[in-house]
Symmetry: C2
Subunit: 242 residues, 2 copies
């Protein structure tokens, strides 16, 4: 294993302590350095491959954590909360709380944005996972934060009411509102998901959902659409700004 420059090594040791990262005794410092290196400084050894893995690890860790702690929540609700938890916005916030930014190596002219912080955090999650090939250390590190963020998501009226949140989102970007198409299903015997709803914006269906009432089906559709539409509209804004 290649040794890191002593200054970088000390830097990483400092962050491990600060962030309470539960790495093994024989920490793979080269891999941790890679997780905190952007491709702008090293096209070969950067966080991209680790991020691909860490993204999947984090999704599984969040799913386990939510299902264990909210055994009575519906799949639709857990899925909606999960999508918020593993969104770039939430992960960037978590990375800030863990003071990750000063330890992320990027090209000097590059501005570090929320996506970079989220990606690097996912890469660090992959480093932890690879040490044991189990989710134990990842969950020991992040469960408390995930549960705190979940409580915030569930208490935030705008996020609990996805129809309102979606409407605010589309209004911020255009004058049109999302449209719901909801049908009552009769075909399946004993199916408690009586209503099926899709949500439309700009002639495109962005999400669908089911529920025992019309309102719940529409909320589920709005929840399914929210993150996808937010990412697209944000992308459009930043594209048209450049």
């Amino acid at each position: 294993m290649t040794d890191l420059p002593p200054s970088r090594q000390r830097q990483l040791e400092q962050w491990v302590q600060k962030s309470a990262l539960p790495t093994a005794d024989a920490t793979n410092w080269v891999r941790l350095d890679q997780a905190l290196t952007h491709k702008s400084v090293d096209a070969a050894n950067n966080y991209e491959q680790l991020e691909l893995l860490g993204d999947a690890v984090l999704r599984l860790a969040a799913t386990e954590c939510l299902q264990e702690n909210f055994p009575n929540a519906s799949v639709g609700e857990l899925s909606a909360v999960r999508s918020v938890l593993i969104s770039d916005r939430t992960l960037a916030q978590l990375a800030q709380e863990l003071d990750l930014a000063p330890y992320l190596t990027v090209a000097s002219r590059m501005a570090v944005g929320p996506t970079h912080l989220a990606d690097a955090l996912e890469a660090v999650v992959a480093v932890l996972y690879l040490e044991t090939q189990t989710l134990g250390p990842v969950r020991a590190w992040l469960d408390d934060s995930l549960l705190r963020l979940t409580a915030a998501v569930r208490q935030d009226p705008a996020r609990q009411n996805y129809k309102v949140a979606l409407q605010e989102l589309t209004q911020a970007h255009s004058k049109t509102l999302p449209q719901y198409r909801t049908v009552e299903q009769r075909s399946v015997d004993g199916d408690p998901q009586r209503y099926a709803s899709t949500v439309w914006f700009r002639e495109t269906c962005w999400g669908s959902g089911h529920g025992p009432t019309k309102k719940q089906a529409e909320q589920a559709a709005a929840a399914a659409a929210y993150d996808r539409l937010r990412q697209t509209l944000t992308h459009e804004s930043s594209s048209s700004a450049t």
Copy 2:
């Protein structure tokens, strides 16, 4: 633990043998039964919660399997292959190969579609994962299939060429073609991802990608858009058909 009716128990034992499912000696038959039960027959004990977990487990297993077997592939390529591997279409195909359909319990009037097969397979993956909380048994069961499917994906010219695949998809549903908007990036020093591309259809951006050439950036954008657009268009077709 509630016992299953003897006929169902024998049925499940038969499928475990047929599909070579590497369950533990003390198989949780009730949970396996749940993984193979649609909500139309049991609103409380069905595959939905297991599917939420299994979806995340399978995504992680596929990521690990791909990264281990294709250490030199780019993140973009691995990510594109992964999205095909864990798509409903591929999982339904795999479920067919494992002869899952006859063991899936659904309401008598219900037609079993590819989505149901994919969902139930994900739920079975969760059952395996929960036995050991590791990916070992899941990967022992599915790695060979994932690698075989990966080889097929990489050899299929239509899938290797995502721009062609995307064009075929949109032409099947409407007379318009997807539009690419590609820009050359100059801002970041030493960034090998020189071109950034977005793909548009019906005034909506469906995917974005980067690459060292214009062509590779557009291929990456098409790959990112493919599954999302396919799901939406399929959904529209089935909605308008009913």
